[in-house]
């Protein structure tokens, strides 16, 4: 395909200003540097950043970029762990942060209509006043935009019971590279126009189109919740509890696990009195109607956990105790910074029953490559976030980290898992994607991309090359 000649930078900026207004176009070396990174270690430089404030502005920008051969990289808060928002060659960043209106909240019909720049936390905060919430809450929910959440199909600690972002999007409006606007789906599950276009857009990382509005499903906050915290000698024991809880017919909202290394870094950071010799820590949370069933479930869980001979087991009875249970988990990721300046967070996911093997595999990888690897896991989903600690400035060590990453992915795939449970592929894991999928499946992905964006203008080179 012939690429149109690069437009002069001034013409580009002028055109963008004409469309979006001077306030909403940013250029300059300092600002462009700030849009060059995300939560990964990758980097790129865009030609300009534009903040459209309406669907029409998005259409105009897309039309201009199509005509002049400029690529479009979408971006929300830039908290993704996959390099999905890293600028590519000859691109502008289209940032949704200023399209942040909540257009409608319809509590009685369990739906809200929002723009992509709304921050997940802002919806939660607004809905909480009415006793409602939007279930998916990725760890970055205080920062990340809904546009980003949908683009990456974010998960979070509640997935095991409540599912992921995909399950809570009723419909959306999006603009494709041909400049056309489509509203697909509606305010319920039944309004997709034949193909479930909303679903394929969820988690497409902006490669199919730029999303401009969402209808999201909202729910009343469950009447009651119980939080428990267990410390075990070995991660395997925690895995046994997880399996037994599920086998007992209980679907907890949360099953969060941390290993010894993270328990120790968290203890370094908080001094909360976590047992430093514990091999694993598990946070268990159940919720539901308030008719006493939860107490029965807590009883069952207590028995199940006792079977695995935990070092400690606590049932939180006050809000402060619940908070204390979560403290270590909240600081977990950052607390490793006290050990090493850089970390690489993986997102491998294995079938729940392979949990012990996956832990063993991570420990082995840590030995093989002589790297500290801490383990965080959404244990109910088999979703691991191994944190590989290193120093970015140490070239040789960084090389080893890359090898360890590939080894972890291979281990997960060998166990019948996937390389990404909730972070997405972006640029970071793109080279490894063909390890997970056969050429036929990769071809099917390309079919979809071609159907939406045959000119490859929207977030090109992400996930796979067309």
């Amino acid at each position: 395909m012939a690429v149109a000649q690069k437009t002069d930078q001034d013409t580009l900026v002028e055109a963008l200003i004409n469309i979006a207004g001077e306030q909403d176009v940013v250029t300059g070396r300092v600002a462009m540097y700030a849009y060059g990174y995300d939560a990964t270690l990758l980097f790129g430089v865009p030609r300009a950043v534009v903040f459209p404030e309406s669907t029409q502005e998005v259409v105009d920008i897309v039309n201009y970029c199509r005509a002049t051969g400029v690529n479009i990289v979408p971006r929300g808060a830039g908290t993704n762990e996959s390099g999905g928002t890293i600028p590519v060659d000859n691109c502008i960043i289209m940032n949704c942060c200023r399209m942040k209106k909540v257009l409608e909240v319809d509590l009685d019909n369990y739906v809200a209509i929002i723009e992509p720049g709304v921050v997940n936390y802002d919806i939660q905060e607004m809905l909480a006043k009415y006793g409602y919430y939007y279930p998916p809450d990725p760890a970055s929910y205080k920062a990340s935009t809904m546009g980003g959440n949908v683009g990456e199909c974010s998960g979070g600690p509640k997935c095991f019971k409540y599912g992921v972002t995909r399950d809570y999007i009723y419909g959306m409006e999006f603009v494709t590279s041909d400049g056309k606007v489509r509203w697909v789906g509606g305010r319920d599950f039944c309004s997709e126009p034949f193909y479930d276009l909303t679903r394929i857009m969820c988690g497409s990382e902006g490669t199919l189109g730029y999303m401009t509005k969402f209808a999201i499903r909202i729910e009343p906050i469950p009447a009651a919740k119980r939080t428990m915290l267990a410390f075990y000698n070995e991660p395997v024991d925690a895995a046994q509890s997880v399996a037994d809880i599920v086998a007992a017919g209980i679907v907890p909202t949360t099953l969060e696990m941390m290993d010894n290394l993270i328990i120790n870094t968290a203890e370094d950071a908080t001094g909360a009195g976590l047992p430093r010799d514990a091999g694993a820590m598990l946070i268990i949370e159940v919720d539901g109607p308030a008719y006493g069933d939860l107490d029965d479930q807590v009883k069952t869980i207590t028995e199940v956990v006792k079977k695995a001979k935990p070092k400690q087991f606590k049932i939180a009875t006050t809000a402060a105790e619940v908070d204390a249970c979560w403290l270590a988990r909240r600081v977990a990721i950052g607390s490793v910074a006290h050990r090493a300046p850089s970390y690489s967070m993986q997102d491998i996911t294995v079938p729940r029953s392979k949990f012990p093997q996956a832990v063993a595999g991570i420990v082995q990888t840590s030995k093989d490559y002589d790297l500290d690897i801490g383990i965080l896991a959404h244990a109910g989903d088999g979703n691991f976030h191994p944190l590989v600690l290193f120093d970015q400035r140490n070239k040789e060590q960084s090389e080893r980290v890359h090898k360890a990453e590939a080894a972890l992915v291979k281990m997960a795939l060998d166990l019948g898992g996937t390389m990404s449970g909730e972070h997405g592929v972006g640029l970071l894991k793109k080279p490894l994607l063909p390890n997970e999928y056969e050429p036929v499946t990769m071809g099917a992905f390309r079919n979809i991309k071609r159907a939406f964006d045959p000119i490859n203008r929207m977030n090109p080179t992400k996930i796979f090359d067309l």
């Binding site: 540097y33 995300d38 921050v119 970055s140 920062a143 990721i333 950052g334 607390s335 400035r393």
Partner: protein, 412 residues
């Protein structure tokens, strides 16, 4: 790479770019610009250290627009204290380029010279304020309500005797008034004296009231800040107890001043000894047992705003609330996000007024949402900014110092 940036480089490198600070950073919330968020500031300071960007005007805006409120440090899972790193970057910038623009430079230097400072506040009170009042639509100048901005020709120190004595004093305290109170919030300063004397303290108001040095310190002019610190200690060092009712001054005198001299072993002990006897107003008063002296005939609903310097720098949060709650018939309503910055942040409110005004609007909405009839706080800068924010929203909720609320409940 400058020496200062080299010193903090490890800390800059600790930022994992996770972006969790986006939810905490008020300057980011305004329009979602990555270069106005803690992560952006840290990455750009690092980029400067790495020689990847120039310290141009854009860069200056990046570091100078920070509120130094410290909220990002609490949100940061990696424990990066961006406000400290920004401070270092400002210091680095000052050493390389001096302080610009002209007006900021004028204000900072004028604060160290009482005569000129008087001029600055008088400008608002005299011709400037009147001229602006006459112009339609100029009630709000840079987000500050000109009509109701208090300013006095006659500073507080000129209105009170040097020593306000009581019979059989429980304690002798020296009152560090602070520029804002001395020149603008005179009535609150009177309230402070009233509360302290009613509580049985003999209050000394030294004639010489130097600037605490915080404004110079936060824009990286450590030399001027050190000079101010020495002046303060020269005047106030001789008293056993020093009290200030300005959250920012309190933080400077108790905390930053010690950090300012961390590399001066000869003077550091003096500073430490001084810092140990400085108390923030509510900290001191809550130990004096004034609860049984408080009276009130009419019910009122009050909420409290935490100044950044108290909540995150000095960690004083319970004392002012406890004092307010001890007033009879006072219903205390906690507002949403009481501990978040009001947008004043020293000179940010003057030079990034649009940014600052939007942040204040959030604060004002939270105050109105709390249903309070009065909002109390412990810092005159917050008082000024919040008052403007409330007026802009058409609210009549008055902003008072905690001392004002207490003083009203203490009968003569």
């Amino acid at each position: 790479m400058g020496d200062i940036l080299a010193e903090i480089y490890e800390k800059l490198n600790t930022c994992g770019r996770c972006g969790f600070c986006h939810g905490a950073c008020k300057t980011y919330k305004k329009d979602g610009a990555e270069f106005f968020v803690a992560r952006g500031r840290v990455q750009l300071i690092k980029a400067l250290a790495d020689g990847k960007i120039e310290d141009d005007h854009d860069y200056e805006n990046v570091i100078n627009s920070c509120l130094l409120c410290g909220e990002c440090a609490i949100a940061c899972p990696s424990g990066v204290k961006t406000h400290e790193l920004v401070l270092a970057a400002r210091r680095d910038y000052k050493l390389k380029k001096g302080i610009r623009p002209f007006l900021k430079s004028l204000i900072l230097s004028s604060m160290t010279k009482p005569g000129r400072l008087k001029f600055v506040f008088n400008f608002f009170d005299g011709f400037g304020k009147n001229a602006m009042r006459r112009l339609d639509g100029m009630q709000f100048f840079r987000g500050i309500d000109m009509y109701t901005m208090p300013s006095s020709n006659n500073p507080f120190v000129a209105q009170v005797p040097e020593v306000v004595s009581v019979s059989a004093p429980k304690k002798r305290v020296a009152f560090f008034v602070g520029c804002f109170m001395n020149y603008a919030f005179v009535s609150s300063a009177h309230s402070v004296v009233k509360v302290l004397t009613k509580a049985g303290c003999e209050v000394t108001v030294p004639r010489d009231q130097p600037c605490c040095g915080l404004p110079q310190y936060v824009y990286g002019d450590f030399e001027a800040a050190r000079a101010q610190a020495k002046k303060v200690i020269a005047t106030f060092g001789k008293y056993d107890t020093v009290v200030t009712a300005c959250g920012s001054c309190a933080s400077m005198l108790k905390k930053e001043m010690v950090e300012l001299f961390h590399d001066d072993p000869s003077y550091l002990p003096t500073v430490k000894a001084f810092a140990a006897k400085v108390f923030e107003f509510s900290e001191l008063v809550s130990t004096l047992g004034i609860e049984d002296k408080l009276h009130s005939d009419s019910p009122q609903i009050v909420t409290y705003h935490d100044p950044c310097h108290l909540v995150r720098y000095l960690k004083v949060t319970d004392e002012p609330r406890k004092l307010l709650k001890s007033v009879p018939r006072l219903q205390y309503n906690e507002m949403f996000e009481a501990n978040r910055c009001c947008g004043a942040a020293g000179l940010v409110m003057a030079f990034y007024q649009e940014l600052s005004t939007k942040i204040t609007a959030d604060k004002a909405a939270n105050i109105i949402g709390s249903g309070a009839e009065t909002v109390a706080t412990s810092c005159p800068a917050c008082m000024l900014k919040i008052n403007s924010g409330l007026k802009l929203k058409g609210s009549k909720v008055p902003v008072k110092h905690v001392a004002d609320v207490l003083a009203e409940a203490l009968r003569d």
